[in-house]
Amino acid sequence: MKTICLYFEIHQIIHLRRYRFFDIGRDHYYYDDYENERSITDIAERSYVPALNALIQMTKENPGYFKVAVSLSGVGLEQLEIHAPQVLDLLGQLNDTGSLEFLCEPYSHGLAALGNEESFRDECNRLKNKIKEMYGQTPKVFRNSSLIYSDDIGALVADMGFEGVLTEGAKQVLGWKSPHFVYENPIDPRLKVLLRDYKLSDDISLRFSNTEWSEYPLFADKYMDWIASLPQEEEVINIFMELSALGIFQPLSSNILEFLKALPKVAKDRGISFSTPSEVIKNYPSVGAIDVPYNVSWVDEERDTSCWLGNDMQREAFNKLYSVADRVRICTDRRIKQDWDYLQASNNFRFMTTKHNSVGMNRGIYDSPFDAFTNYMNILGDFISRVNNLYPTDMDNEELNSLLTTIQNQDEEIAAKDREIEKLQKQLEKYNPSKSPELKADKEKKATVKKEPEKKAPVKKAAKKEPEKKAPAKKAAKKAEPEEKPKAKKAKK
């Protein structure tokens, strides 16, 4: 039986502000708040809200039959949290119907898969956790930023524990093969590969309202006839697009949502089902490995990475950015980590493209690729100097990392000791039940609790961990001190 795997992507970048080189070292705020708010509210109003409402309606009308998958980039998610939380609520409602599957993607919607493996893993895990935290789902299927994929990226994704990956059914990859099957990664066959049918996807996302298109106007039954008339053995039809295609690329006035809403009915009539990516992977066996030696993506006619890394400027910006990836990863400064996410977004590189076929490309505030490059490099210059100021630059990453690991280990040790102290404390309570009420009261004032046994614990453990004792003791003392001061004030009052 044929099945349609429908997937929508939600991503909006944080727009960068006009940042002159005079600002380098003086101003560390890089974002255009007005534009961010304006664009996300606009897109939410014109596209996300009506589209999600339509999807909710569809799942409610066809319970258990209509299914859909969605992925959010972390950056887009943050934007929505701030400016359009109603979109996240709608996603929650859609999730409650049980017909929604969340996919995982890199947090920043960046090119970390091509730049830095560790950062890439880190980002994916962060988004996975965030989705789990917000919607209680653990994504099992992965989609990279703009569906960038190659065999190596696939192996990496499989290693992170994902069962499947979405990518473009690019001609240079498929050749004579059809995208309507499930394939597997040649390096790690556990990872199944779902390929986008770009013709059927673009019919909706690119051409739907184009009156010059030979198939205009497109109706749901005609569309479904195309799918039904595919050869019998071609069973998986992957239709992937950005959610903003519904409402922004194709305006609501083109009745795109009515078209969408009609799909389940006409599909049912033709005996075609809907599946989420996980279901496809479970129900349809792989027909073989698909070799993707070079990176593919769903962008432009070339379906490769040339729109982000096509010219020297883009490559310089990319290399500069990822040159500090390791440093950023080991640092603990939250603002730097946040800026790192926002700066990585692939759109920033796309603004610098000099390719001619990027027709109607929206460059945002930039009026030329050079302008985009200059602005981005100024920001990057400031960002890199901030990262370098964190730790001495002459120290190489490995050395730094080992020092940081030591510190981290010590922290863990302190935590372990704290736990032990608490345990001992409890034991102490048992032995001295008379004192227990007093101690319970003390527990709320942690500092005192900590400080008291501090003196005892080392005595007991002295023999065990003599050399490392100093650092934790000092730290504990430091922690205790500032907490004591306010207490003293309270006492005075």
Partner: protein, 419 residues
């Protein structure tokens, strides 16, 4: 064709454009061009056209013998030509100040009595137009418009005028009424107006009230660099970068914006030098401004440059900047790009319409300009991209293509005129 300047003796972009355009046209086999100049120096390239020196065309009949004429007229002109012209003197100009063979003297420059020279030029043009055979008249810039009109009246042939600049560009809007009237008159009589950019075309339509149907945009082009100039080595600038402004230091070219941008850049970095080559009425003010901003130690005024010096200077630069307030076309960024020097140009320049591989800013946006200067000097990839792609782009802009398009307009104009 009527022109005022011709290489190698040029004072501005007009001469260069006249040369390129004529040469591009001459590549068409069925095209004969006669170029009238006020005062040829004799070393002009005449391989592809015939030059008439207006200072050797008689307007007063003098009885001079063959040998004497031969000794008086320059090598590119025969005594037969002289006698031919003499037979077509059409009025009594003996009150004019003429020399022993009945010709007038021209300076060939832009002297104080420019209006007198323009008038004289047009008187001589009447003689030339009566003698020469031609199908169309092409007059370059306002100095020759009266001559073009005169020739049209005498011969009944259509007149094309080529607007290289208007007085609105030169004066930032405060036009000289005499110049404006000459320009307007020329345009009114013209059957076809070619403007060097869409920007100029708009000015011609809006400020000179011309019928848009006869006003066309004809962008300029550049000639490939001679091998001699191509071989000029590019000095190593890894330690210190040079940013160059090259042109007349006048209000039109916006030199003060360059100084302001330079001072912004120098507030942040010290390893960049600025060079303002050329001369003009605002030079002293600029020197003063640079001193006022405290950047005189990094800001240099090497003075007027010509010939090979220009290319040496361009090759010695890392950035070429043209912050013109209003530039009809502006051929110099194209030359800089030919030399492999990335260019920053103002959006108010005509050449911005055809160039993509350069940075464009508003002339007043000194912050954007400073940012662009800093970026090119700091990021090698941007420099390299603009350099390589700039050469490719500018190599595609040839006078030959312009010649073909001008020919198309000629044919169209002639057929319209005859109906």
């Amino acid at each position: 064709m009527f022109g005022w300047e011709f290489p190698p003796h040029i004072l501005g972009g007009l001469g260069t454009a006249s040369y390129g355009l004529t040469k591009g046209l001459s590549l068409q086999q069925d095209m004969d061009i006669t170029f009238c100049l006020p005062k040829p120096w004799g070393d002009e390239d005449q391989s592809f056209m015939k030059i008439i020196g207006m200072n050797n065309v008689p307007i007063v009949w003098r009885d001079v013998n063959y040998d004497y004429v031969k000794s008086r007229v320059p090598g590119y002109m025969t005594p037969e030509d002289y006698y031919g012209f003499r037979d077509h003197i059409y009025a009594d100009f003996s009150y004019m100040n003429t020399n022993d063979i009945g010709c007038m003297e021209f300076s060939g420059r832009y002297p104080d009595n420019l209006h007198e020279e323009i008038n004289n030029y047009s008187i001589v043009a009447g003689v030339v137009a009566r003698r020469q055979q031609f199908d169309i008249i092409h007059a370059h810039d306002w100095l020759t418009y009266p001559a073009g009109i005169h020739a049209k009246m005498v011969s009944g042939r259509p007149l094309c005028i080529h607007v290289h600049a208007t007085d609105f560009d030169r004066s930032r809007g405060h036009v000289n009424p005499t110049v404006y009237s000459i320009e307007k008159n020329g345009m009114d009589y013209a059957d076809c107006i070619m403007c060097v950019s869409e920007l100029t075309r708009r000015t011609v339509i809006n400020e000179y009230h011309q019928d848009p149907r006869k006003v066309f945009t004809m962008h300029n082009a550049v000639y490939p660099l001679p091998q001699e100039y191509q071989d000029i080595p590019r000095p190593d600038h890894s330690k210190e970068k040079v940013v160059t402004f090259l042109g007349r230091i006048t209000m039109q070219k916006g030199p003060e914006y360059f100084v302001e941008a330079a001072s912004l850049v120098l507030n942040r970095t010290r390893n960049i030098r600025f060079c303002m080559a050329g001369s003009g009425d605002m030079m002293d003010a600029m020197i003063y401004l640079a001193a006022q901003r405290g950047i005189a130690d990094r800001f240099h005024f090497p003075g007027f440059m010509r010939g090979k010096q220009v290319y040496e200077c361009l090759k010695d630069s890392d950035v070429y900047i043209m912050p013109s307030v209003s530039e009809p076309f502006g051929i110099s960024p194209l030359e800089a790009m030919q030399c492999g020097t990335p260019s920053i140009i103002s959006k108010q320049s005509g050449c911005a319409e055809i160039l993509d591989k350069c940075i464009k800013t508003d002339y007043w946006d000194v912050h954007a300009m400073a940012d662009a200067i800093y970026a090119i000097c700091t990021y090698p990839s941007l420099f390299k991209y603009l350099q390589e792609e700039g050469i490719k782009e500018v190599n595609g802009i040839t006078w030959e293509k312009v010649g073909v398009r001008i020919r198309g307009l000629y044919d169209q104009t002639i057929s319209n005129y005859n109906h």
